[in-house]
Every structure is written in C-alpha cells, then in structure tokens.
C-alpha cells in the first residue's frame, strides 16, 4: 500500500487515506478493476466511497446530508491552498494553489478528461462516479453505510463486473443490485437518476 511521502502533504495516515488504500486491496480481490482509464477511475472511485463511509461511520454513523464528503481532508502542508485531496459532493473544488494547480476533477461526463497522465486520469475522472454516489447516498438519506454503500459493495462483488468495466457498465450493475437488494423501495430509481445527472444513462 502506498501512502505517499510527505513532500507536500502531512498526516497521510489520516483515517480516510488509510481506508482508501485498504479498499484498493479489497477491490483487487473482489473485482480486479484494471488501473487505467475508466476501469481505473472506478477502482479509485470505490476506494473513495469506502473511505468516506468509514469516516462517516467513525463520526457516529453520520447522516449522508451532514457529511463533508471530502477525501484526505487536512492532509495538505500549511502553505498549500486546499481543503482536501478530493471532494465527492463537488468534484473540482478541493484545492486551487499556484504550485500544485487546481483540482482537475470533473463531475459530469461532458467534462471527462482524456489524458495519458495519471494512468489515463484515474484520480481525475473518478469525480464523475463519486458525485453519483454522493447523490445516491444523500437522496436515500441516513447513514450511507446502510443502503447506498451496500449497493456499491454488491456491485463490486458482482460476477458481471468485468475488469475493464466502463462507467456505464458499473452504473447498470448498481441499478440492478439496487433492485435486487431493495425491491420494494425507491433505491433503484434514485440510483438511475443520480447516474443520469452525471451524464450516464442506464438502459437495460
């Protein structure tokens, strides 16, 4: 597991960063999402989901609407302008500093970044599914670990999830798993609408 080395960041063993790294281990065992372009961004996204849920659990099973949805909050060195490494609720807002640049994350498929850097943008384009999860969790309400994260975990374990899955495939599987887990409720519709809001249409 790589935690980083303190050149520009401190407190890299903060809870959410640790949970993020450990989740990469889970992803490797359950889904082996290839660490490149969209499947890599999904790999990163899953780590961000579970690190947020762990943080919210540690805050007393915090309601999704009350959580800050920040990854790696407080890890920047004092002279760097930023609140966190990433924001799931508002991708692109976590940092803006003359040295390191502006948070490059998009929150919608229209702004998907095609790049060779960062293994094809795995830490960049994860903003799109991150925002979808944030919408799902806040619209379902309550502690995200109860339902939203369960849907996502079942999707990660789903045999239909290919190692090179793109966002659309993952989205469809979250919808199917939402139906399977909560056949009587609104969850599946909430999932479908959340993905649509970030520019991914689920069609069976």
């Amino acid at each position: 597991m790589v935690f980083g080395d303190g050149f520009l960041m401190d407190h890299l063993t903060e809870l959410t960063v640790a949970a993020h790294e450990l989740t990469h281990g889970v992803t490797e065992v359950e889904a082996q999402l290839v660490y490149h372009t969209q499947s890599g961004a999904l790999n990163e996204h899953v780590s961000d989901v579970f690190d947020s849920v762990v943080k919210q659990y540690a805050n007393g099973k915090q309601d999704a609407e009350k959580a800050d949805w920040l990854i790696g909050e407080g890890t920047w060195r004092d002279d760097i302008q930023g609140t966190a490494l990433r924001s799931m609720s508002n991708p692109g807002s976590a940092f803006d500093d003359p040295l390191i640049g502006k948070d490059p994350q998009p929150g919608h498929m229209d702004d998907y970044v095609r790049t060779n850097d960062d293994n094809g943008g795995v830490h960049i384009n994860s903003g799109i599914p991150n925002r979808a999860f944030y919408l799902v969790a806040t619209r379902i309400g309550g502690f995200a670990g109860n339902r939203a994260a369960r849907i996502w975990y079942e999707t990660l374990r789903d045999r239909q999830l290919r190692i090179r899955a793109k966002f659309r495939e993952f989205a469809l599987l979250t919808y199917i798993n939402a139906w399977n887990l909560f056949p009587e409720g609104d969850e599946a519709n909430i999932v479908k609408n959340a993905w649509a809001e970030v520019g991914i249409e689920i069609s069976q």
Partner: protein, 112 residues
C-alpha cells in the same frame, strides 16, 4: 548532461506538477552539477531497465520518467516509487526536490 524528470500518479493528480522539468548541468553551479552527475553514476543509471512494472494490484503509486542525455549516450527509465535500490531512491528524491525548487522559483518570478 540534460536530465528530464516527469512525475505522475500518486494519491492525487496535481495538474501544476505534471509537466516535466528539464535540468541542464551546464546551467547549474559547479557543486550542484557534480552532485547530480555523481548520483546518476552511483545509481548506475544507464544500466537500469527501461521500465519496472508495479506489483499487481498496486494503486496510488507515483511514477517517474527520467531521461538523461549526454554527448555520448542517452537513456530513459520509467519507475514507480516502490523503489528498493537506495541509490536510485536517492537520485529520485534529489530530482523531486530540485523540481519543486524550480517550480517555486518560477512561481516567485511570475508573482508581481
């Protein structure tokens, strides 16, 4: 000797740090130029394999692309930050520090 250093990956993507930085030893003070050349020699840079694959399942690792060109030869190496060789590790740390210094100096120059 010209050294081109690019860093990418890591736990977060820094747009401001993703451009490669080029250092030419003729433009450095003599001590610094000698130090850099020493690090490259001790790391046995020109014999390093061109790429080293990260372990399977690895994520959030930093990747470095280092190219060194002299009048007689040139070589490019792609590394991840899971570097076991202490001499290579020292070279990478030195280049990272110099890169950050160079960017901070450029920022100071550009700031009115």
């Amino acid at each position: 000797m010209r050294i081109r250093f690019k860093s990418e990956g890591g736990i977060v993507h820094f747009p401001g740090l993703s451009e490669p930085v080029t250092i030419d030893t003729v433009e450095l003070p003599v001590e610094q130029a000698n130090e850099l050349e020493r690090l490259i020699e001790v790391a046995d840079f020109f014999e390093l394999p061109a790429t080293s694959a990260p372990p399977p399942g690895a994520a959030d690792y930093q990747q470095y692309t280092i190219s060194v060109t002299t009048p007689s030869r040139s070589h490019e190496v792609r590394l991840t930050d899971l570097i076991e060789n202490p001499h290579v590790r020292e070279l990478v740390n030195h280049l990272r520090a110099k890169t950050i210094e160079a960017r901070l100096a450029a920022r100071r120059r550009d700031t009115p």
